[in-house]
């Protein structure tokens, strides 16, 4: 489940695309709708997904190092998605693209649809790099980047904690379970940003004001030839079960018998 569009950065020697996605803030109190169909999102504060902020920051840093020419921020979603694009523009992106998806389509918008949109846009804009946040904090899918790379048949450097250019190849240090893995991939490529890639800058008010003058283009998924039909059907959403009080036991035998009673042993 997701609330705004995915953040994908597309970066190219011509221009870099950053994709911003809004997500519910982590400290929001979320509650399930009375009909158990989904959660209540009305009025809930959305802001740019934290990993997407890191992705945008990386894109802007690369531009400041003069390694790329242009940063384009992209977001899929209803009208409010424009706010997320404006934040990316305030952080330093050059222009934005808003892919309009609203209503029922938006509720069922998932990583597959988003990655199809991204792939289409990447080809259209002749981007050479796509940088996304590794996952959104409201649905934790961690799929969009990987699917985009597959659809484009591009190499991918996921969970990046360091990105460096080496001639026409890109060196990516990835955070993996066992430690850090360094890979060399050729461009064009897809990169997903992990937590330690950088510390995003604040979008200061003067930059927000300047961002109002930067262009945001409107695009419809149909224009990109993307079919948004979802292949997933959400059957039900439930709150996690209430945490039961713990039970203290005196001896190990007690513990074993209690575990047996609970069917765990």
């Amino acid at each position: 489940m997701h609330f705004w569009a995915r953040t994908v950065n597309i970066f190219s020697t011509f221009h870099l695309k950053t994709w911003s996605r809004s997500a519910c803030q982590c400290h929001n109190q979320i509650r399930v709708k009375p009909d158990n169909s989904s959660v209540v999102t009305d009025g809930v504060k959305h802001s740019m997904n934290p990993f997407c902020e890191i992705a945008v920051e990386e894109a802007v840093k690369l531009k400041e190092k003069k390694l790329i020419k242009e940063v384009v921020a992209v977001s899929c979603g209803p009208q409010q998605a424009q706010e997320t694009i404006r934040t990316a523009l305030a952080m330093g992106a050059d222009r934005g693209i808003h892919v309009e998806v609203s209503g029922k389509d938006y509720e069922t918008l998932g990583p597959l649809q988003v990655s199809k949109i991204m792939a289409a846009l990447a080809k259209k804009e002749e981007a050479q790099l796509v940088i996304l946040g590794k996952q959104a904090i409201d649905d934790d899918c961690n799929q969009t980047g990987q699917m985009t790379a597959a659809l484009l048949d591009w190499p991918q450097g996921t969970f990046a904690s360091e990105v460096a250019f080496d001639g026409d190849k890109i060196k990516v240090v990835r955070e993996i379970d066992g430690g850090l893995e360094t890979i060399m991939i050729s461009s064009p490529a897809v990169i997903t940003a992990d937590l330690r890639l950088n510390t995003p800058r604040y979008a200061t008010l003067p930059n927000i004001m300047k961002a109002k003058k930067k262009k945001i283009a409107n695009v419809k998924p149909a224009d990109l030839g993307v079919d948004l039909t979802s292949r997933l059907e959400v059957l039900r959403v439930d709150e996690p079960p209430q945490r039961e009080a713990g039970v203290k036991v005196e001896t190990v035998d007690d513990l074993v018998s209690k575990l047996k009673d609970a069917g765990r042993l």
Partner: protein, 622 residues
């Protein structure tokens, strides 16, 4: 008082010394010097690191840091995106469109989105809205619940005495709407943006700027990227300056910039000190069978004693699902330092008249905010060169009606109408660079706001008598209901709320029942529901002028009332790691921006300043 065994001999001597020199407020310096001499071994750990207390000019960590600010010009800058600020912005743009003039209106709001820091009952009287947008229904204003039933009770511990709401009594709600004010404010924000107002949520006004001639030049937004210890981080960025011909301050009840302006321009020399209450609120989904949309319930009495002003509200909303908004208000002029407004609220829910409505339901929101109770007597001078005060900041709440939104909106509209001709004039005839608009004050005095406040001016102060609540109700019945507030005298309040607390040794601790987890809840789970959060690595925004005063005075004399009146658990007295003595721990991240601590601190040592913009509660339709 705290158990004697906890204290060392030196501490005992301190406390004894304190008791013998106890006076109201000449004392603070005396206490601290006595303490420093007698308790020099008890070092106070540093609590406050904010630059408003520890200036950055002399701080070596700030040497060489770029402090230049980007500045921008607008015609009017409005601080605060609440009903008053937004109404003023809307009215300005309406006038600009009517007269085909260009006007740049910028509004800054500390919440991350408009409406996120808004909390109110609320029963909205549509008078001001009808003037602002006669077509509010067509525009989709979220006013879906006209009041259908109005109930008033005096509660005793187990019973309820119904009080008939005779027509003409201030608490009658015929013609009003129950609203979720946060949603209403959000709608106002959308209307304002459509009219072309530049709204910047997430940016708090942190500083007032002045011209050389002393008039207000505008405001500066908060700096970001300062660490918890007060040092600059890598991402440090200076705030931005917004200059304007006139700046409107609509920060709501007890605004921190307004506090500075009172001192700067001596705005309070001819009025009484403001007196406040704290309002705590929850929203519940209830059993459909118990739901009566449009029903308004108010009560006074239990669990408060007759000398503590306060009462409850419970409103049944009509927005699709069975929601009720309920809450409790406690006057901050209470005298018992052991009183906890939060726990009074929680135990009120167990009353046999209230509990059945909530049984089977579940709580979905919580929040708190201070509100004004001073009425007419406490309204300060409203205008000064370069700016003016609107809304609950100076305080136009009609206390017996417990409504302030309509008067706040009207004050914003009148402000707009007064300043419009001046900011669009070809040439300014102002003496000062920042425009002075005393016409706003005059217009307000000639409007229905003043008439309304004048009629009810004696109701709140009438509670200061031996019979407390009952005396007040009799007074209201006679002088308001019969004589419509036309009596020739004006009663006074009691002075600063902070000075009303009696020493803890003269008061009895209150035994509050434990929360049952179904109707009543503990503080921390409530705070979690408010969705409040702040960037952790920033200086605590609850600044103390003197870090040693909380333990040496507040805890010693009043048993630390801040740990009880804060509705978010910000203040905690914890034992020192060394074992002897206590220290104050400030959990600034919990703060819900209610301002009660700044108001009620008996030492007036706490100065609430604005944290990094975007932080604070995340109320959704409160």
């Amino acid at each position: 008082m705290l158990p004697a065994s906890r204290y060392s001999g030196k501490a005992h001597r301190c406390i004894r010394a304190l008791r013998t020199v106890q006076t109201e407020y000449a004392a603070p310096q005396l206490y601290t010097t006595l303490h420093r001499r007698a308790c020099s071994s008890v070092a106070t750990p540093q609590i406050t690191t904010h630059y408003t207390i520890h200036s950055r000019d002399k701080d070596p960590r700030w040497e060489g840091v770029e402090m230049e600010r980007f500045a921008d010009e607008a015609d009017v800058v409005i601080v605060g995106g609440g009903p008053a600020g937004l109404s003023a912005a809307i009215r300005l743009k309406q006038l600009a469109n009517e007269h085909e003039k260009e006007l740049r209106v910028c509004l800054v709001e500390k919440a991350s989105q408009i409406g996120a820091h808004t909390l109110s009952g609320a029963c909205l009287e549509p008078s001001a809205l009808n003037e602002l947008f006669p077509d509010w229904k067509e525009r989709g204003a979220p006013m879906n619940t006209p009041v259908t039933e109005d109930v008033f009770s005096i509660l005793t511990e187990k019973h309820r005495i119904p009080v008939p709401i005779l027509p003409g009594l201030p608490m009658g709600n015929h013609g009003n709407y129950i609203v979720r004010l946060g949603n209403f404010v959000r709608w106002l924000g959308e209307q304002a943006e459509e009219l072309g107002v530049e709204i910047y949520p997430g940016y708090a006004a942190a500083e007032v700027l002045f011209h050389d001639d002393g008039s207000v030049k505008g405001i500066a937004t908060n700096d970001v990227g300062i660490g918890k210890d007060g040092s600059p981080k890598d991402v440090f960025e200076r705030g931005m300056e917004l200059h304007a011909k006139v700046t409107l301050f609509g920060e709501g009840c007890h605004g921190h910039l307004a506090k500075q302006l009172y001192k700067q321009f001596n705005l309070r020399e001819n009025c009484e000190p403001q007196t406040y209450a704290i309002g705590l609120k929850e929203v519940w989904t209830i059993d459909e069978k118990k739901w009566r949309p449009g029903r308004v319930e108010h009560s006074v009495g239990w669990p408060l004693n007759r000398n503590t002003y306060g009462g409850s509200f419970l409103y049944h909303l009509n927005e699709g699902e069975p929601l009720v908004a309920l809450g409790f208000v406690v006057g901050l002029d209470y005298s018992n330092p052991y009183l906890s407004p939060f726990r009074e609220f929680q135990r009120w829910k167990h009353h046999p008249f209230v509990a059945p409505t909530l049984e089977g339901g579940s709580r979905i929101a919580y929040g708190a905010r201070a509100l004004n109770e001073g009425g007419l007597q406490s309204i300060p001078k409203l205008t000064f060169p370069g700016g003016l005060l609107i809304g609950c900041s100076p305080g136009f709440m009609n206390v017996p009606k417990i409504k302030g939104t309509h008067t706040a909106m009207k004050s914003g509209m009148l402000a707009a109408e007064a300043i419009f001709p001046k900011v669009t004039a070809e040439s300014t005839e102002s003496e000062t660079t920042g425009l002075h608009v005393p016409e706003y004050s005059d217009n307000l005095k000639n409007s229905w706001v003043w008439k309304e406040l004048h009629a009810v001016r004696n109701i709140r102060p009438s509670f200061h008598n031996y019979f407390g609540l009952y005396g007040g109700m009799v007074y209201t019945g006679v002088f308001y209901w019969i004589f419509r507030g036309k009596e020739p005298w004006t009663l006074k309040h009691c002075g600063l709320d902070a000075h009303q607390l009696k020493p803890a040794k003269d008061c009895t601790p209150i035994e509050y029942p434990k929360p049952d987890g179904k109707l009543s809840f503990d503080l921390l789970s409530s705070v979690a529901l408010s969705g409040t959060n702040h960037e952790g690595d920033q200086p605590p925004h609850l600044t103390l002028r003197d870090d040693s005063v909380p333990v040496n005075r507040n805890l010693a004399i009043y048993d630390g009332p801040e740990q009880r009146f804060c509705p978010a658990g910000v203040y905690e007295y914890v034992p020192l790691e060394t074992g002897d003595g206590m220290r104050l721990q400030i959990n600034a991240q919990n703060c819900v921006h209610c301002k009660t601590c700044d108001i009620k601190d008996p030492s007036q040592n706490i100065n609430w300043v604005v944290p990094e913009g975007g932080g604070g509660p995340a109320y959704n339709g409160m």
